[in-house]
């Protein structure tokens, strides 16, 4: 009869997909992130929330070394994927990004066919040996992104001709095609209408079966709807991290409370 409360679940140590310890990020002299330590769980949707400039996107971009592409950015601390240091000199960032995929705010399909958009990653990473194998990956990825039924008869049409919501799901299919373990999403629905948003949110919930999903969102309601864990960032600090249900009904830190209830903090 007695159900364990949600916050007692998933304390299993082996469930950690990414562990970050004392992560600091500097853009030149300016410190953007201070001493962030967090464990991100496998097969869980984790939402990062916080006001603009709080460091949530900066931290997200540390998780697949996207900050490497910013010349003045410097990352300190320790970030491990399945226990492996992702900033180790032997780690190839391109290989890392195949394992830790990313979906951006604005849908950014390549100006190529729907098929080629999805096939691109597996091709450059040499994941397939034959055309039929590649066809299989494309179909599977589009199915996982809940787009297959809408595009299966027009795979050779341009990806940019799809609606905004379809384009974003195409980008998710593209990210899924390289067989990632973690999917990072930076405001994936902010350019979409409510119906397309709902479809992407439904998809995120499906993706949780196979991946660890980390989503940055400005919509608190979206964080509440899609995530199991929520992290609140403020002025470069990770203020509070916990079960989403707890964060939204009984946050412990007054800064979290002010932010999620829309008060002047």
């Amino acid at each position: 009869m007695y159900d364990a409360p949600a916050n007692k679940q998933s304390v299993d140590q082996s469930n950690q997909k990414i562990t970050a310890r004392n992560v600091q990020v500097f853009y030149g002299d300016k410190q953007a992130l201070r001493d962030v330590s967090v464990d991100i769980e496998d097969r869980t949707v984790t939402a990062f929330i916080g006001p603009s400039g709080c460091g949530k996107s900066t931290f997200l971009r540390c998780l697949n070394r996207m900050n490497d592409t910013v010349a003045i950015a410097r990352v300190e601390g320790d970030i491990r994927l399945d226990g492996e240091d992702i900033y180790h000199p032997m780690v190839d960032p391109v290989q890392l990004r195949a394992k830790v995929g990313m979906v951006f705010q604005k849908p950014n399909p390549f100006p190529k066919s729907i098929y080629d958009n999805v096939a691109y990653g597996p091709k450059i990473h040499g994941l397939t040996r034959s055309k039929s194998e590649l066809d299989g990956i494309v179909e599977e990825s589009l199915k996982r992104a809940a787009l297959w039924n809408e595009v299966k008869d027009r795979l050779q049409e341009s990806g940019t001709g799809l609606s905004g919501g379809q384009q974003q799901r195409l980008c998710i299919a593209r990210a899924v095609a390289t067989g990632p373990e973690v999917l990072l999403m930076d405001e994936p629905c902010s350019a979409l209408d409510p119906i397309a948003t709902a479809q992407v949110e439904e998809l995120i919930d499906d993706l949780r079966q196979n991946y660890s999903v980390v989503i940055v969102t400005h919509s608190m309601q979206q964080a509440a709807r899609v995530s199991q864990k929520t992290a609140f960032f403020h002025l470069g600090n990770l203020v509070e991290y916990g079960e989403t249900g707890t964060i939204f009904t009984n946050p412990q830190d007054p800064r979290t409370e002010s932010y999620i209830t829309g008060r002047i903090g």
Binding site: A224, F248, T249, N250, I260, T261, G262, I264
Partner: protein
């Protein structure tokens, strides 16, 4: 949480719904007080007024529920805001029940008016009512002031209300056994006492909602319960 919302109309909505709860609380206190006063004075007109006025309490309950539903749908409240609205709904139901109990007491005033008096019972009912009204009033104050300490105090006082009810229960039982002409009045007086005791339980429920609203945690159910009449028999009365 004293900070104001950035969207100030949200604050106005929350204040409006809480003002309605306080108005309802005031009406419920008056209904209890007047119902028992009508008994003591044998004032049937006053009893009739209490019965009539219950409609206003019920209407406020409906208004509060409608406003709460609208706030949930339109504002998607979280954290303290969510807990305010959840507690408002529960408190409003409790006050609506208190109104019903007062109305029931008022109905019994006319039924009892021709009956033989039972020594001292009216005075005991009045003291019990005053005690429960002070619980209710403190519970509502604790709610509006977000005062957890006062809420805990109200919760602790329920035991005393239960004991007053037990004493009256035994005394009425004794009078009814001694003289069967006391039975009709004794039964009505007993139901009145039970109604007042239940009002005390609702005052306690309001205090517990305050604790939940402020702390986010429901108080542990270790509140002392002193109503033993459910297991009291004639022999051990």
């Amino acid at each position: 949480m004293s900070g104001k919302h950035i969207v100030s109309s949200f604050d106005r909505d929350l204040e409006a719904i809480q003002a309605k709860v306080m108005r309802m609380g005031g009406l419920a206190e008056v209904a209890m007080r007047d119902a028992v006063q009508a008994l003591e004075l044998g004032d049937l007109e006053m009893a009739e007024t209490v019965r009539r006025n219950d409609a206003a309490i019920d209407a406020l309950n409906e208004e509060i529920r409608a406003s709460a539903a609208q706030l949930l749908a339109l504002r998607a409240p979280t954290a303290i805001d969510l807990r305010v609205i959840l507690s408002v709904m529960t408190i409003s139901s409790s006050l609506e029940r208190i109104g019903d109990y007062a109305k029931n007491i008022a109905k019994r005033v006319s039924a009892i008016s021709g009956q033989q008096q039972i020594n001292g019972s009216y005075g005991t009912l009045r003291r019990m009512t005053q005690f429960v009204i002070s619980m209710l009033s403190d519970a509502l104050d604790s709610y509006i002031q977000h005062n957890v300490e006062l809420a805990r105090d109200v919760s602790d006082r329920d035991r005393e209300a239960d004991q007053m009810y037990n004493t009256l229960f035994r005394s009425l039982l004794t009078h009814m056994m001694e003289d069967h002409r006391n039975i009709a009045a004794g039964m009505h007086l007993h139901f009145m006492a039970k109604n007042i005791e239940r009002c005390g339980d609702h005052a306690t429920a309001i205090a517990e909602q305050t604790i939940y609203m402020v702390t986010g945690e429901k108080p542990a159910d270790d509140r002392p319960k002193a109503d033993v009449t459910a297991t009291t028999m004639e022999g051990n009365a």
